[in-house]
């Protein structure tokens, strides 16, 4: 979707202002949000693409005015409600409806070191034929899907070159909508800065973007 999250190349946000000696968390509640991600993921509440799309669906003003962990909190609440895992009444009262059956947590504390070290790769062990190879010139499709995509606006309709083939990965545009993994090759694609940003960009500079087969056509 052409949402507010797709920030690359926008103007008007001002200086970066990095915080010196920044703590890992700024509020205690942020820790709980971070800590709820892996357990709810392990419980099968969502896939990572659904999680990102839940954030993208936030209202634009709300997205810009809220912090990273508020985005996560919004996604956890939204997905739990949409998947029927809990009700709005339960969120309001902070308690489960009496008498509902109790599940067994998918992630036990003792399994945390293992899951942290292993993660959940989106790489797919399937022998899918790549459409392109290193050095191929490609044009990014000029597409504007209303659903989830990992194709930033700033590369659409631009000429690039396949830098390297990362292998076969889950395709987010389908996975985020329960339409399957549609495994395909994902590449690092080179773009000259001038191709993307015009003649005022440095002639020496470049941008590398990871893009899937379905986003690309041969130049």
């Amino acid at each position: 979707m052409n949402g507010i999250h797709d920030l690359g190349g926008m103007h008007g946000f001002g200086p970066i202002n990095p915080e010196q000696d920044e703590p890992v968390f700024h509020h205690a509640w942020e820790k709980r949000v971070l800590g709820m991600f892996a357990p709810t993921f392990a419980a099968g509440l969502y896939c990572v693409d659904e999680f990102r799309h839940a954030i993208e669906r936030m209202g634009a003003a709300h997205y810009l005015q809220s912090s990273y962990y508020e985005h996560w909190l919004h996604a956890l609440e939204t997905l739990a409600l949409e998947k029927g895992v809990l009700t709005r009444e339960e969120l309001r009262t902070g308690h489960a409806t009496p008498g509902v059956p109790k599940a067994q947590p998918a992630l036990a504390a003792t399994d945390v070191p293992k899951i942290v070290a292993h993660g959940a790769s989106a790489r797919v062990a399937l022998d899918v034929k790549p459409k392109f190879k290193e050095g191929d010139m490609v044009v990014v499709k000029n597409m504007h899907p209303a659903g989830h995509t990992r194709l930033p606006r700033y590369v659409r309709d631009k000429l690039g070159c396949i830098d390297r083939d990362h292998g076969v990965f889950v395709f987010p545009d389908t996975a985020a909508h329960g339409k399957g993994e549609k495994p395909q090759h994902c590449y690092s694609v080179y773009f000259s800065a001038q191709e993307l940003w015009g003649p005022k960009a440095s002639r020496n500079d470049s941008v590398y973007v990871d893009l899937w087969d379905d986003y690309l056509v041969a130049a």
């Binding site: 709820m36 892996a38 292993h118």
Partner: protein, 212 residues
Amino acid sequence: MNDLFHDHDDDDHVHPHGRALSDPELRVKALEQVLTEKGLIDPAAVDALIETYETKVGPHNGARVVAKAWVDREYKQRLLANGSAAIAELGYSGIQGEDMVVVENTATVHNVLVCTLCSCYPWPTLGLPPVWYKSAPYRARVISEPRAVLREFGVKIEDDVEVRVWDSTAELRYMVLPERPPGTEGMSEAELAAIVTRDSMIGVARLAPPKP
């Protein structure tokens, strides 16, 4: 705003110590409590994850990778050829670093990382991302005007050096192998690791020679 979740009656939510809880505090508390009562999450697992990312995982991990690459030519080759496998040799792997790519800064190439669409970041080697990395100004600007952004971080890139910006739009996670500063020839691997900063592994800093 988020109307779904703003129907709390604030009088119902006063902290035991008398301080009113903020909106996210209340929502997080309610969410965790309901998920716990339903047996979907174990609060002890939440605690263990917090402890992991507060105390164990952080840029000191990435610094060890960098220092080893500086002193061990064969390790550096493995690191640049297969980042995930070489980083796992030092025991770092997993969540948000399952598939790693390491890019090398040299006298002619300066790499810098961003995630313009969200805030993807290599957790196993760099820890959780700083606020500025996740914020709109950095994500909007570094992709189109990297030299201006780097100047704000105090890094002046010479005109003939190529700036490469890596936008982690997929599930690959990137890390910069910074240039080893001059004046570090006699230093041990552990001493070298101590001078490697988080920002140098994002690509928004160059490492200075150690002070005498």
